[in-house]
Each structure stands twice: as C-alpha cells, then as structure tokens.
C-alpha cells in the first residue's frame, strides 16, 4: 500500500470517529448526569456565588498545583473531588479551611495568597459542584473494610464483553516475546552470536 494513503487512513478514521464520541460525551443520553455549574451555588453574607465563578478562582489560586481534582493535578495534597463531602458538606467549613490552610502539612494559608472570603466561598461552590459529578465511581472508598474483614460484595464472572482485555494482554505480551525470539534467531543465523 502507498505510504501516504496508510498514514491518511491512520489519521482520518480515528479523527472522524472522535467527532461523534465527543458529541456523545456531552449532548446525548450517553452523557453522565452531571450538574449544571450555574445552578450549584453557595450563599455567603447574603450573596450567592455559583460554581462557574468558582472554577475561575479554583484555577486562579492554582489549587491543581498541589491537589488533584478528578484525579488530575499534583500529588502533593489529597484529591479534592470529594472534599466537600469530607468537610461535612459544609461550605463554611471548607472555605474556612482554605483561608487558614494547614501550614504544618504543607498547605499555605490561602489568605496570604490574596484569597478573600468571597473567593473562598466561590471556590467552595466549585468543590460542591465537583462533588456532584458522576465520575463513574471514582475515587473508591476502599474495596476492603478498614478492619480487614471481607466486604459484602458477591463474586462475579468474567463477562464475554470483558474478554477483549485478556486477548489484548496475550497479544501484546506475545508480540514482544516473538520479537525478541525473532531477533535472537536472526542474529544467530548470521553468526553474530
């Protein structure tokens, strides 16, 4: 096959497929039931802040520089996806924590970085929104009980729809083994070993 045609096929097929996948990800029944950030709000001193403003402050104060959100970011601090829940679903507690920080554990008081109570409330609204996202079950709370006992989940079977992973694993592993053997044999044939 012509080299250019091969490359074009490699580029165009997945690129064209990405369009419906992207649309399905947001605009159809496939899409997860995520909340509308404009409707997730936090009240502070009689003013209402929504998660859209919160997303901007979250970016501005570089929370992702130490923490992760939906698992993406830095691994210096804990994940913030469920921070709202961990703070007892209280936005006052959450914004208070942000402003004072945890200096001994490495979190600077954000009020030293220019964060005022309004911005803290905005960021709390964003974290409230992040907590409501449908992230396909991530992060887990631990699949075993804390005391080491076996949890209550029943065993399941390997479904036919999951076997592709087994097949891929076998192919991947054996292609490498095969490559090594082939390289070895050819070298031996040429008397270089």
């Amino acid at each position: 096959m012509n080299n250019t045609r091969l490359v074009l096929i490699g580029l165009l097929i997945p690129a064209i497929l990405m369009i419906p996948y992207s649309i399905f990800s947001f605009y159809t029944d496939f899409a997860n039931k995520n909340p509308d950030p404009a409707l997730v709000t936090v009240d502070f001193n009689g003013i209402t802040f929504n998660a859209i403003e919160g997303k901007k402050t979250f970016e501005q104060y570089q929370c992702m520089g130490c923490h992760t959100i939906v698992g993406n970011g830095a691994y210096f601090g804990p994940d913030l996806t469920n921070a709202y829940e961990r703070a007892g679903k209280s936005d006052a507690a959450l914004s208070g924590l942000m402003l004072v920080g945890l200096p001994s554990k490495g979190m600077p008081p954000m009020k030293d970085r220019g964060m005022d109570p309004e911005d803290a409330a905005r960021t709390a609204a964003f974290l409230k929104y992040a907590n409501m996202l449908d992230t396909n079950g991530w992060p887990n709370s631990g699949s075993w009980e804390r005391n080491g006992s076996i949890d209550g989940i029943q065993e399941k079977r390997l479904y036919p729809s999951e076997i592709w992973q087994v097949i891929l694993g076998i192919i991947f592993f054996n292609v490498i083994i095969f490559g090594v053997i082939l390289a070895y044999e050819r070298r031996k044939q040429e008397g270089r070993l």
Binding site: G10, G71, N136, G142
Partner: protein
C-alpha cells in the same frame, strides 16, 4: 553547510533547551525536598509554584528543541534555505521573553490575576500568555509552510512527518484555551492539548526525527526507513487519537470511554515497539562507520525510553480496572518521569548533538564527557522511576485498597521521596556535564570567527 546559512541560527535553540532542562531539574529537586519537609518552603516559595514552573519550563524547552530541530533538519530536505531566516531569531527571543514572563507571573502573580496565572496542570501559564504564545508559534507554522511551499525538491516522508508533528503540536495548543463553564468539558479539552502532544504530535516528531537521523548517519536504503516510518505513523495516529479515552475514565464522561480508552491505549505500545525494532534492523544493516557515536546513543536511548516509559509503563496502568486504583497516585508520576525524559529529552539531546558540533565545525569532538553525562542521566532517571513506582504501589495498596488516610500514607512514603531526591541529584550531575559540553562546543566556533 554554507549552502544553508540560516541553520547556524538554530544553535542557540539547543543551548537554551539544555539550560532550561537544568533549570527544570533544579526545580524538580526543590519539589522533592518540599515533599520530604512539608510546611517548609524553600526560599519561601510554596510547592504549587515550583510545580507549575517545573512543567512550564519543560514545555518551553521541548518547544525550543523541536522548533530548533525542525529548522535545522528542514533545509537539506527541501533543497532551499528557510524562507524568512530573521523569523528564526525573532521566534527564539520571543519564546525566551514569553518564558521569562511566565516565570515572573508564576512567582509574583499566582492567585492575583487569572489572566497571568491560570493554574491548570500543564497550562498554568495564564490566558494572556497562552494567546501570545499561540500567536508567536503560528509564525513558526507560517515560516515552515512557506519554506515547504517553495521547495526545490520532493519532500521525503520523515521530514513531512516531523513538520506535521511540529505544526500539529502548535495547533493543538488551541483547544486548551477555550473557556468552558463545566469542569468536565474543561478537562476534556485540556487533555486534547496534553494527550495529543505526548501521544500524537510529539510521537510524530520523535518518529520523524529518529528516521531522519538514522538516514543521515547510516547508509540504510531510504525506502526501508520510509516504509517502517509510514506504518509507525499510521499506528501512532490510529491508537493515539482514540487512546485519548484513557484520560476520560473518571472525569465525568460516559462509560463508553472505559471500553474505547482501554482498547486503543492498550494498543499504543505497538508502534513504539516497532520504532525500536526498525531502528535495530536499520543499524544491523548499516555498514557505514558512525563517527558521531553520541548522537546514535541518544537516539537509541530515546527509542528505548519511548518503548519502556511510554509503552510499558503506560500499559501497566492504562486499563480501566487498574487505573481505577492507580489514577492520581505516584504510579502516574513514575510513568511521566520515565516517558517524558526517556523519549523527548534524549531526542532533543540527540538532535542537539548532531546539530551543534556540525554547526560549530567540530565533528571530531571528544565524546567522553557526553557519554558520561548520558549514563548519569540514565542512572539518575532509572533510580527516580524505581523509587516512584515503589512509592506508587505502596500508595495504591494502602490508600486505595486499605483506605488508610492520605497523610498517613505520605509519611510512609518518605524514604522513597528521599531516594527520589538523590536520584534527582545524580540526574543533575549528568545534565550539568552535558551542559558544560554544549557550552564548550558552542564556544569553539566563537573563537574561530
């Protein structure tokens, strides 16, 4: 060499790239120290600023290295000089000034101004810098496009792949700059920048550059190298574009990404293996002596780093069942510290070791320093990766499976962070040796002139 005078201008790109890499390493060592002494700020700068600089400096030197490499390798392949040679200087100083601007914004304006610091991983540079950088980099696209349009001979496929990769990386910077209200959409398109860089366009640059360098230093037939390159590129794109799905498991996107991402990203190591395999075959067939041994070493390191760092280390945590537990742990950090330097650092160094000695007119330079530096880099990075992967396994077991609290796990991981710091120091020693070598190579020409 005098045929293409603009090539001499690319020398400073490589030197700047290597110097910025040293800066990135120093920042990385600061970060690892802050990991061990929580609450202590080195030079009263907190973790997040070092972290964002660590990433942004990397993006900057990668761009410098790739643009320099493209400008260096393009003229002989199109049979003419770069169309606007003065743009090469302009773009270099533009990138330098933008880089200094980003560093100053990070240091003094984090949290003060969203337009100057945006704080999204890899895109920490504020919106103002993003737009400025994109506009500046589009002039590279323009310059390369005009040069290719007025070519004097038929383009070979490696340089086309390289140019496609460089232009694609610059264009892929754009999706990250669109504002979305929803975190899901913002993360969705942020990964277009990051993933399509490292798993599509940068891979194209790697494949193209490795092929070009092999063409220039060996006597293997062009058709063989080009045939392999076409298969590699087709497979990189076929797996990489939808392989994007492995970033869409847990960010609030539908479950069909678990299947798509798992399927395609599990296939991603195949083209990387092919890259190593084809380089191996080419070198075996080669009968021409290779005087510039160090460039060859760097290219071999890059293709092996790509296979093991991106391919194997990526594969071990790419399937959704595994990624459910490893997502957001030190396993990811280990993968990133293997794949990025393993591939792109050695690629940029390889291009630099071809370009700088030739442009300085010293083809018979002493290679002992560079080889020692390379081995120090390899040893340093392998230590770093091993420390991080053990830390990652411990973290996954304790935090994700046993439910031990975050802080408790971090305390347990401290020895591995110490190991990582020592590894960083070894790497720094190698990087300083290579920088010293480059400064000497760079300086020799100045004396002759």
């Amino acid at each position: 060499m005098n045929e293409y005078p603009s090539r001499a201008k690319t020398r400073k790109y490589f030197l700047a790239a290597v110097l910025l890499f040293v800066l990135q390493l120093i920042l990385g060592i600061f970060l690892s120290i802050e990991f061990m002494f929580r609450g202590e700020y080195l030079f009263s700068i907190p973790f997040d600023i070092y972290k964002s600089l660590h990433l942004n400096v990397m993006v900057l030197w990668l761009l410098l290295g790739f643009i320099g490499g493209l400008y260096y390798l393009l003229p002989p392949e199109v049979g003419r000089d770069i169309k606007y040679p003065r743009l090469i200087d302009f773009q270099f100083w533009f990138l330098m000034i933008a880089g200094i601007g980003i560093i100053i914004s990070e240091l003094f304006f984090t949290g003060r101004n969203w337009w100057l610091v945006e704080g999204r991983e890899y895109l920490e540079a504020g919106r103002a810098w993003d737009i400025l950088l994109t506009l500046g980099l589009l002039t590279v696209v323009f310059n390369v496009g005009m040069t290719i349009r007025e070519r004097k001979k038929e383009m070979s496929s490696p340089i086309l792949v390289l140019a496609m990769g460089a232009v694609g990386s610059i264009l892929m910077y754009v999706p990250g700059e669109i504002w979305f209200n929803s975190l899901v959409a913002a993360e969705y398109f942020r990964w277009w920048v990051v993933h399509y860089w490292v798993e599509a366009t940068f891979e194209l640059i790697a494949a193209g550059a490795i092929a070009l360098i092999l063409l220039s230093i060996t006597d293997v037939r062009r058709e063989i190298i080009e045939k392999y390159l076409a298969i590699e590129v087709a497979l990189i794109l076929l797996t990489g574009i939808i392989g994007q799905g492995h970033h869409y498991y847990w960010i609030g996107t539908p479950q069909f990404w678990l299947f798509l991402g798992g399927l395609f990203s599990a296939l991603e190591p195949v083209p990387l293996f092919l890259m190593v395999w084809s380089a191996y075959k080419d070198l075996k067939e080669n009968s021409k002596p290779i005087p510039n041994n160090i460039a060859l070493y760097m290219i071999i390191a890059a293709s092996l780093g790509n296979l093991f760092g991106a391919g194997v280390w990526g594969f071990i945590h790419t399937l959704p069942q595994i990624n459910f537990f490893t997502h957001g742990t030190q396993i990811t950090a280990s993968h990133a510290h293997f794949a990025t330097p393993g591939t792109y650092l050695f690629l940029v160094l390889g291009m630099a070791y071809i370009a700088v000695p030739e442009l300085s007119g010293m083809m018979n330079f002493h290679q002992f320093r560079a080889k020692t530096g390379l081995w120090l880099l390899v040893i340093g990075f392998l230590n770093m990766i091993t420390a991080l992967v053990i830390a990652g396994v411990v973290q996954v077991y304790l935090q994700r499976l046993q439910g031990v609290s975050f802080m408790e796990v971090q305390n347990i991981l401290l020895p591995f962070y110490g190991w990582r710091t020592i590894a960083g120091l070894i790497t720094l020693a190698g990087a300083l040796l290579i920088t010293y070598d480059f400064i000497i190579l760079y300086h020799k020409r100045k004396l002759e002139e």
